[in-house]
C-alpha cells in the first residue's frame, strides 16, 4: 500500500524545495542591504566567472524591505541560536546596513558578498567579528589595503571571513578568495557586467526591484551548481537546466504583505523552448500550491517573448509566511 510513504516523501520534497526557495529569497533580502551599483546602470563588482549573482537594494524608503529587516532582526533577537553578543552585533549591523549588496557563488563552493562600507566602519568590523566568530579565535587577514578576519574551519557556501577597506567590505566562505576579490575590485577587469548574457538578462528585468538574481549557464556552470542542490532535494527541479543559456530573477517586496516577481529564462537551443516553458509552468505551480495552503493570494503567468520565457508572479497576504520563515 504505497500511499503513506510516497505521499509523505512527495510532501516533504515539495516542502523542502519551496522552503529552500523562500529561504534563499529571505536570506538574500535580509543578509544584504547596502550601497551600490544600481542594476543595469553600473558595472558588477563580481568576477565574470560568477555562476549565480545576486543584488539587493536596501532602500530605507522601501516599506517592504524595511519591514522584512525589522522582523528578521526581531526574530534573531528572540532566537536561542545566537549568543547575546551576537544579537547585539546583528542589531548594530542592521542599523548601518549598506544600500546595495552584491553577492555570488563561484566554483560551486564559494560564496562572496561585497558591499560599500558604511560611514561607521568600526561598528561594521566589530559586528562582523562577533557574528563570524564561533568557538576558536579568528585568524587575521591582511592584503593590500584590506584587513579582516577569517575562521579556520571553513565550510562551503557558509560565510566564514571578512575584509574591510575604506571602500568595500567583502564577506566570503573561503579566505583564499578574499584576495582574488580584492584583485578584481582593484583591477576592474573581467567583471560579470562584461558578460553579454548578464547585460541581456539585466536589461529585461524590471528597473524597480529589491532583489535581482542572475544565473550564468556558460559551460553549464549554473546547471552543475543546481545539480548539486537537486541531489540534496532528491528532485530535478529544472529539467531544462542543461539547455539554459542564462536565467534572471527579480523580486520587488512591495510591503510586508505583497511581493511581485519575474523569472526570465533564455534557452540555448530554440527547439528546447517548450521544455523551458514546461519548467516555468511547473515552478509557478509549485508556488501556487504552497501559497494556496497558506491562504496567500497568488497569480502567475508564463509567456514567451522573443525566445525568452517569462514567469511573472504576484502574491499578497505573505506576512504570516515571512514570520514563519524567520522563525526557522
Amino acid at each position: 500500500m504505497p500511499y503513506g510513504a510516497n505521499y509523505k516523501r512527495q510532501e516533504s520534497l515539495m516542502k523542502k524545495v519551496t522552503e529552500q526557495c523562500f529561504l534563499i529569497t529571505a536570506a538574500v533580502i535580509t543578509l544584504f542591504i547596502t550601497p551600490s551599483l544600481a542594476r543595469g546602470e553600473e558595472e558588477s563588482l563580481l568576477h565574470r566567472d560568477t555562476l549565480v549573482a545576486f543584488h539587493i537594494i536596501n532602500s530605507p524608503k522601501d516599506p517592504g524591505v524595511s519591514w522584512l529587516l525589522t522582523n528578521w532582526l526581531s526574530q534573531i533577537k528572540a532566537s536561542k541560536k545566537f549568543l547575546p553578543e551576537q544579537k547585539h552585533a546583528f542589531s548594530d549591523l542592521f542599523k548601518i546596513m549598506p544600500k546595495d549588496i552584491e553577492g555570488g557563488i563561484i566554483n560551486k563552493d564559494i560564496l562572496v558578498i561585497i558591499a560599500p562600507v558604511p560611514s561607521n566602519s568600526n561598528t561594521l568590523k566589530d559586528a562582523l567579528f562577533k557574528i563570524i566568530k564561533k568557538i576558536k579565535p579568528l585568524e587575521k587577514f591582511n592584503y593590500k589595503e584590506y584587513k579582516g578576519y577569517y575562521r579556520a574551519d571553513e565550510t562551503k557556501l557558509r560565510l566564514s571571513g571578512f575584509a574591510v577597506s575604506e571602500n568595500y567590505v567583502i564577506l566570503t566562505s573561503n579566505s583564499g578568495y578574499i584576495k582574488q576579490t580584492v584583485d578584481i575590485l582593484k583591477g576592474k577587469k573581467q567583471r560579470l557586467s562584461d558578460d553579454s548574457r548578464y547585460e541581456e538578462i539585466m536589461a529585461l528585468l524590471p528597473s524597480k526591484s529589491d532583489i535581482t538574481l542572475f544565473a550564468n549557464n556558460k559551460d553549464r556552470g549554473f546547471s552543475k551548481v543546481l545539480k548539486e542542490w537537486e541531489k540534496q532535494w532528491k528532485m530535478t527541479v529544472f529539467l531544462s537546466a542543461p539547455y539554459l543559456d542564462s536565467m534572471g530573477l527579480s523580486f520587488d517586496v512591495i510591503d510586508g504583505d505583497k511581493i511581485k516577481g519575474v523569472f526570465i529564462f533564455k534557452c540555448l537551443q530554440k527547439e528546447k523552448i517548450p521544455d523551458v516553458l514546461d519548467d516555468a509552468k511547473f515552478l509557478g505551480e509549485v508556488f501556487r500550491r504552497k501559497f494556496a495552503k497558506e491562504k496567500i493570494k497568488y497569480t502567475s503567468n508564463v509567456t514567451l517573448k522573443n525566445d525568452f520565457v517569462f514567469l511573472d508572479l504576484e502574491a499578497s497576504g505573505l506576512k504570516p509566511l515571512w514570520v514563519k520563515l524567520f522563525n526557522q
Binding site: 500500500m1 504505497p2 500511499y3 503513506g4 505521499y7 509523505k8 512527495q10 510532501e11 516533504s12 520534497l13 515539495m14 516542502k15 519551496t18 537537486e230 541531489k231 532528491k234 528532485m235 530535478t236 527541479v237 529539467l239 514546461d278 509552468k281 511547473f282 505551480e285 500550491r289 504552497k290 494556496a292 495552503k293 497558506e294
Partner: protein, 328 residues
C-alpha cells in the same frame, strides 16, 4: 530327483519374479497415481471474490516467470535476499502465479492497516501439508503457534508478533493469509458474498486496467484517502491534491516491460464529470513532479494526461530503470 530340484528352483524364481513385478507395478502405479493426483487441475476461483467490499484497496501482481520484466525483478530480489540455493529452489517451486490482497484502513491505528494476502499456487497447494512437516524444523516451527479448523478450513496460526501474518488457510488453489485472525475468518466466511471489485465505482476500473501485470485499486467513497491527504497537507502546509474530494476511486496499473522499461497508467475516477478539469490539473502536477523526482535517478518519463467521461487517465512510459533497481 535332479529334475525336481531344477523345477522347484524355477518355480521359486518365477514366484520371486512375479512378486517383484507385482510390487514394482504397484509402486510405479502408486507413483503415477500420486503425481497424477498432485498435478491434476485443482478447482479454483477468482481471488477478487474473497476480497471483501469492506476493503479500502485491492492490490494484485502477476508473478509470471515467462514475463521478461517480472523475471528480471524476481531474480534481483532473489540475488539480494536468498543466499542458499536450496531455499531458492524451494521458493521457485512454491512461487505463486499471482499475489493479490485487500487492505482495510484502520481508523484507530492508521499506520497499521489490516490486510488479506492471497497467493495463487494452484495444484502445488496439495503440498501444503509439507508446512506441517516443515514446522518441526526449528526455523519454521518457532513462528507457528498452532493448528485449528474454522468453517471447514484448516488454519495455521502464527504466534510471533513480529511476523507480517497472523494466520493462513488453504482455500482450493490458494493460500489466504492475514495479519488479523478475525479478518481471515471473516474472509473465509465471505467467499460467496459481495466483493471489492463488484462495486460499481471499482468494477469499471478493474476491467479497464486488468491487462496490467500489477494493479492497485483504491476506493475513496468513504473519503479515507481524502482524510489522509488533508492531514498530510495540513502538517506540511502544502496543497498537493486539492481536488481529492472529487475523486471517488483510483486505479494504478504497472507493467515491468524489461529491466529498463516500465509502462503504466493511473486513472482518477470522479463522482461528477464537472470536476475532471480540476482533477486533470492535479494529475498533471503529479506527472511533472514524479518526472522530476525520477530524473534525479536518470529515469526518463514520457506521459500524457487525458479526460474520458468521469475519468482522468495518466498514461506513462519510463526508461532507465535498471540503475534504479540496483539502488533499491
Amino acid at each position: 530327483m535332479f529334475n525336481d530340484s531344477i523345477k522347484k528352483k524355477k518355480s521359486l524364481l518365477e514366484i520371486a519374479l512375479w512378486s517383484f513385478l507385482t510390487f514394482a507395478s504397484i509402486f510405479v502405479g502408486g507413483i503415477l497415481i500420486f503425481f497424477t493426483w498432485l498435478i491434476w487441475p485443482i478447482e479454483d476461483f477468482d481471488a477478487t471474490r474473497i476480497v471483501s467490499h469492506e476493503s479500502n484497496a485491492y492490490i494484485s501482481s502477476k508473478l509470471d516467470l515467462k514475463d521478461q520484466g517480472i523475471k528480471y525483478l524476481l531474480t534481483k530480489i532473489e540475488e539480494k535476499y536468498v543466499k542458499n540455493p536450496m531455499e531458492a529452489w524451494i521458493i521457485s517451486c512454491f512461487l505463486p502465479s499471482r499475489i493479490s490482497g485487500g487492505i482495510i484502513y484502520n481508523t484507530d491505528n492508521p499506520n497499521k492497516p489490516n490486510y488479506i494476502i492471497i497467493a495463487d499456487i494452484g495444484w502445488r497447494v496439495r503440498l501444503s501439508s509439507l508446512v506441517r512437516i516443515a514446522s518441526y524444523y526449528h526455523g519454521v516451527g518457532k513462528f507457528i503457534a498452532g493448528y485449528s479448523t474454522y468453517n471447514g478450513y484448516k488454519l495455521i496460526v502464527f504466534g510471533a508478533k513480529t511476523t507480517p501474518i497472523a494466520g493462513l488457510a488453504v482455500v482450493q488453489g490458494k493460500i489466504v493469509a492475514s495479519n488479523n485472525i478475525e479478518l481471515l475468518k471473516k474472509t473465509l466466511d465471505n467467499t460467496q458474498k459481495g466483493s471489492f471489485v463488484e462495486q460499481p465505482s471499482i468494477n469499471y476500473l478493474y476491467h479497464t486496467m486488468s491487462q496490467y501485470d500489477s494493479l492497485a485499486l483504491i476506493n475513496n467513497a468513504n473519503g479515507w484517502v481524502t482524510n489522509i491527504i488533508r492531514y498530510e497537507e495540513d502538517k506540511s502546509s502544502y496543497s498537493v491534491f486539492p481536488s481529492i474530494d472529487a475523486v471517488n476511486a483510483i486505479a494504478i496499473g504497472i507493467d515491468i516491460v524489461d529491466e529498463d522499461r516500465i509502462n503504466g497508467e493511473i486513472i482518477l475516477s470522479q463522482y461528477l464529470q464537472s470536476s475532471s478539469e480540476m482533477v486533470k490539473e492535479d494529475m498533471m502536477f503529479f506527472a511533472a513532479f514524479f518526472r522530476r523526482v525520477l530524473k534525479t535517478y536518470d529515469v526518463d518519463i514520457q506521459s500524457d494526461v487525458t479526460i474520458q467521461n468521469n475519468n482522468v487517465h495518466f498514461i506513462f512510459k519510463g526508461n532507465g530503470f535498471s540503475a534504479l533497481w540496483g539502488k533499491l
